[in-house]
């Protein structure tokens, strides 16, 4: 073989590059079904290229980071970018050295899914909810006096401060991931950790699904002066019945027919669209 198959080392510069690309892409490719996962792929692309010298492994890693992912940009995105970079590095080295691969595809994915919701909760409350308003409150009197500083100060200040501590989270996430990964390599604990993370990942996914998936009926019927509201009856049976049905229907579709995402999207769009047009949903 002429090509050197050894993964290259991830440098501080690579990490900053990943953080910058994540920060920049962030909400740009936001899509309904997979949210902002493409931004994380864009962030990690050059790192993955340095790590996986085999095209099949690289392709698998690219697809891995196009799966459903959503979090807050700074606390969630910074930390997870760092952790995932270190996990991918450990995995690439294990593959290259023909060691047992303990950092599996599932482990990386479950780590992302387990962390993203909780970190987003912290990040939203602190960044958009608090830090932003501290800057605005400081600058408001300048704006009231007619000075452009009233606008420029909170914009530059908030953007700069969040950028800096987001990068700090990326670096710490990377260190944390490395420390965790070296301990994980010991093997025996591995299955337990993967199982635990799967449970946590699915649990958080259930929590997220309850607020992300919005399907409700607007159907009402007037029978001799009596209002008949379908959604109220459904809520009386089981709250969340409609979104749950939609998720499970697609889940079973994937189980039966394989993962055909485009078909699922087009089919769901058609069904929901028709039901909405006739004011059932």
């Amino acid at each position: 073989m002429s090509k050197n198959m050894t993964p290259e080392k991830i440098t501080q510069k690579d990490l900053h590059g990943a953080w910058f690309r994540w920060w920049w892409a962030n909400e740009v490719p936001h899509a309904f079904d997979r949210y902002i996962s493409p931004s994380l792929l864009l962030a990690l692309m050059p790192l993955l290229r340095k790590l996986y010298k085999n095209d099949d492994d690289l392709r698998e890693a690219y697809h891995r980071h196009l799966m459903f992912f959503n979090t807050q940009a700074i606390w969630g995105g910074g930390t997870i970018t760092g952790i995932v970079a270190s996990l991918e590095e450990t995995r690439a080295n294990q593959i290259a050295n023909n060691e047992e691969v303990t950092v599996t595809h599932d482990l990386i994915n479950n780590t992302k899914l387990g962390l993203m919701g909780a970190l987003a909760g912290i990040g939203d409350a602190i960044d958009s909810g608090t830090v932003q308003y501290i800057f605005i409150a400081i600058a408001l009197p300048w704006a009231q006096a007619g000075s452009p500083m009233g606008s420029l100060f909170p914009w530059i200040g908030f953007t700069l401060v969040t950028y800096l501590y987001g990068y700090y989270f990326t670096r710490n996430g990377y260190k944390l991931g490395r420390a965790a990964a070296t301990e994980l390599v010991s093997g025996k604990k591995m299955t337990a950790i993967i199982e635990g993370l799967s449970v946590l990942g699915l649990f958080m996914m259930g929590i997220i699904a309850s607020s992300y998936v919005k399907v409700a009926s607007v159907f009402t019927l007037n029978i001799s002066g009596k209002e008949f509201v379908l959604q109220n009856i459904l809520d009386g049976l089981l709250p969340g019945l409609l979104p749950f049905t939609v998720i499970m229907a697609i889940y079973f579709y994937f189980s039966k027919k394989g993962i055909k995402v485009t078909n699922a999207i087009l089919g769901l769009t058609a069904v929901l669209g028709v039901l909405a047009w006739f004011n059932i949903l």
Partner: protein, 253 residues
């Protein structure tokens, strides 16, 4: 309103840039606070000091310091781009001007949803480029195309609203056919997230683990009125995962 074509176009381009999120996280405070939009409108109209005073007033309305006496327009950047010229040209108070911007803010919110909808199809292109390991293609489908789409959505709407006036947009949003269209769009948008969720559930771990998903889903529905935070759920989920691992290990020994 009496803005020139160039003025209306410049403001429209700025709003499109913010709503496309093309400047990264720097657009967060640009989208959710009226401050930067107000400054840009002031610069374009050559009346910065007055625009700043009006914008500060709008910011106070958004922060709840001044009660607007009615609903608040969504999409502060979009609404401010309409409200500041209105206030400047018609000599209105900030809280009156922002009320006029409500229908345009509403439309801006729908366009933001529509952007997600179109991005959902652009992701198929990203899947294809990922399969080909085409980095240039991925840059185009992840950054380039979504930004172009946002400009195509926001520039015409903002331009028309600014040049012909906000009532023009209000009539459009109120028209029957378009409101039915918006209804369909928001229903489809609300439901499509199910695809991503189902996909993730499908790929995580063993099949039997789905019970944890179901448990969390209904737990979150039942506890919704309590306003339980994500962090609390993460703690509960971790405890649950820990118990699960303990029990399975005990039964193995």
């Amino acid at each position: 309103m009496e803005l020139t074509v160039v003025q209306a176009l410049l403001i429209a381009l700025f709003v499109a840039a913010v709503q496309s999120r093309g400047l990264g996280y720097a657009t967060l405070t640009m989208r959710f606070s009226p401050m930067m939009t107000g400054l840009v409108v002031g610069l374009v109209m050559g009346r910065v000091p007055e625009a700043m005073v009006i914008t500060a007033g709008i910011q106070l309305v958004y922060m709840g310091v001044i009660a607007p006496g009615g609903s608040m327009p969504s999409e502060p950047a979009v609404a401010t781009a309409i409200a500041v010229p209105v206030a400047l040209l018609a000599k209105m108070e900030p809280y009156e001007a922002i009320a006029i911007a409500i229908p345009v803010g509403l439309l801006g919110g729908y366009l933001y949803q529509f952007r997600f909808f179109l991005n959902t199809f652009i992701i198929r292109l990203s899947d294809k480029f990922a399969e080909e390991l085409n980095d240039k293609g991925l840059w185009f489908s992840i950054m380039g195309l979504p930004i172009i789409v946002s400009f195509a959505l926001y520039v015409p709407v903002m331009f028309l609203a600014l040049y012909y006036g906000a009532p023009f947009i209000a009539e459009f949003t109120a028209a029957n056919a378009s409101s039915q269209l918006f209804h369909v769009l928001s229903v489809v948008g609300g439901g499509l997230a199910a695809v991503g969720i189902a996909l993730s559930v499908h790929v995580i771990g063993k099949k039997e683990y789905i019970v944890f998903f179901i448990l969390a889903f209904f737990l979150a529905y039942v506890l919704k009125p309590l306003g339980v935070t994500m962090i609390t759920y993460a703690v509960l989920g971790s405890v649950l995962a820990f118990i699960y691992v303990l029990v399975t290990r005990l039964s193995k020994d």
